[in-house]
């Protein structure tokens, strides 16, 4: 699990660097999607709801987003953790994704 967290965090870090320094040169209608946010949501949706990698990744991703933004450190950590836990709760309770359960 640690290996998975480290690799995913590294991917997230690169994605955030790309987002803050590269992708913003290619905005559509002056808007730029938050790729780190999308990555975290997809990761939590496809992961087995019993696993916790997505939660740790949400905390790490939130911290990275906070560092590269102007808000106080913690805002994105709380938002990401809340989203991650909510996704896991909803999927566990109400949705069954076969490929996620096998993973």
């Amino acid at each position: 699990m640690l290996k998975k967290i480290l690799i995913s965090t590294a991917a997230l870090y690169i994605l955030i660097l790309m987002q803050t320094s590269f992708f913003l040169h290619f905005t559509v209608l002056r808007l730029i999607p938050n790729f780190a946010f999308i990555f975290l949501i997809i990761f939590n949706i496809i992961e087995d709801p019993k696993e916790r990698t997505g939660i740790y990744l949400a905390a790490a991703g939130g911290l990275l987003l906070d560092v590269f933004s102007t808000n106080f450190i913690g805002l994105n950590i709380i938002i990401m953790l809340f989203i991650s836990l909510s996704i896991k709760f909803i999927i566990k309770r109400y949705v069954g994704i076969p490929f996620a359960e096998k993973a």
């Binding site: 660097l17 790309m18 987002q19 803050t20 320094s21 590269f22 992708f23 913003l24 040169h25 290619f26 905005t27 002056r30 808007l31 730029i32 938050n34 911290l63 990275l64 560092v67 590269f68 933004s69 102007t70 106080f72 450190i73 913690g74 950590i77 709380i78 953790l81």
Partner: protein, 268 residues
């Protein structure tokens, strides 16, 4: 039954402990946030500088391709504008000569316009109009210093200074408000610029009696003491004049495209 209630209690206590731990971590991180951010910027900035440069070059390339079709129209428009500017230059040269004569007469030395420091953009906040540059406190930068481009176009002002990095709030940021002058032929109109976020600015408090038109240049004024005067902000794109309102408002065609620039100058 007892075991079930014990499990529920354990879960509840675990949840509370996790929450307290999270709040403590957030609190601890915020005490040292300047140091933490500094460390992250230190090892990320070389990659980000290269990514920014690559982004500017790639976007310039694609923009060049898309602009190719409208090049002829733009050329015609530029030629028209050029003719107008040539007349303006002649008028300004006369004023400059007169100014020089007066300075000599009054024994005032002509100094450089500004004392500038050079810096490179590292990144931009994804959600706000705030950029990070590679110069900080160690380079003599301080909070509230004005930042401009090579062409004397306004970028914004420094809001946070780290040892080696600084954050700049762009003139288009929602919290940015500053005095400006609308330059017309032979006259100046005082007004207030207000950032709207997402690279947009509007001009407020333009007196109703003043005549303004599309294309009028907007420059900074030193009335509020935030920026030095005569730094270009943009041009009037469209304006709204309503007889019932005491003031006119205008939308600005921003002279700055932050995604197209690499370097900035800080006025010390």
């Amino acid at each position: 039954m007892k075991r079930n209630s014990f499990r529920k209690n354990n879960k509840f206590i675990g949840g509370i402990i996790s929450l307290i731990a999270l709040v403590s971590i957030v609190f601890f991180l915020n005490i040292f946030q300047t140091k933490i951010r500094g460390v992250f910027y230190w090892f990320s900035s070389p990659i980000q500088k290269n990514l920014w440069t690559a982004g500017v070059q790639t976007s310039n390339f694609f923009q060049g391709l898309s602009n190719f079709a409208s090049l002829e129209n733009k050329l015609e428009e530029s030629e028209r504008r050029n003719q107008g500017l040539a007349t303006e230059i002649i008028r300004l040269r006369e004023i400059e000569q007169e100014n020089e004569r007066l300075r000599t007469a009054l024994n005032i030395g002509i100094e450089k316009d500004f004392d500038l420091a050079f810096a490179q953009i590292i990144s931009k906040d994804a959600s706000e109009d705030i950029i990070l540059i590679d110069k900080g406190f160690e380079d003599g930068l301080l909070k509230d210093m004005a930042v401009i481009t090579e062409e004397k176009v306004l970028i914004g002002r420094i809001t946070e200074v780290f040892d080696k990095y600084s954050k700049i709030m762009l003139a288009t940021h929602k919290n940015m408000s500053f005095d400006v002058m609308i330059k017309r032929e032979g006259e100046e109109v005082s007004a207030v610029a207000q950032g709207q976020g997402s690279s947009k600015i509007i001009i407020n408090l333009i007196p109703q009696k003043e005549e303004i038109s599309e294309g009028d240049a907007i420059v900074t004024s030193n009335l509020g003491g935030i920026f030095p005067e005569l730094i270009l902000v943009g041009y009037i794109k469209e304006f709204a004049k309503n007889d019932t309102d005491p003031f006119q408002t205008a939308r600005v065609d921003n002279a700055l495209d932050i995604s197209q620039i690499k370097n900035v100058f800080i006025i010390k």
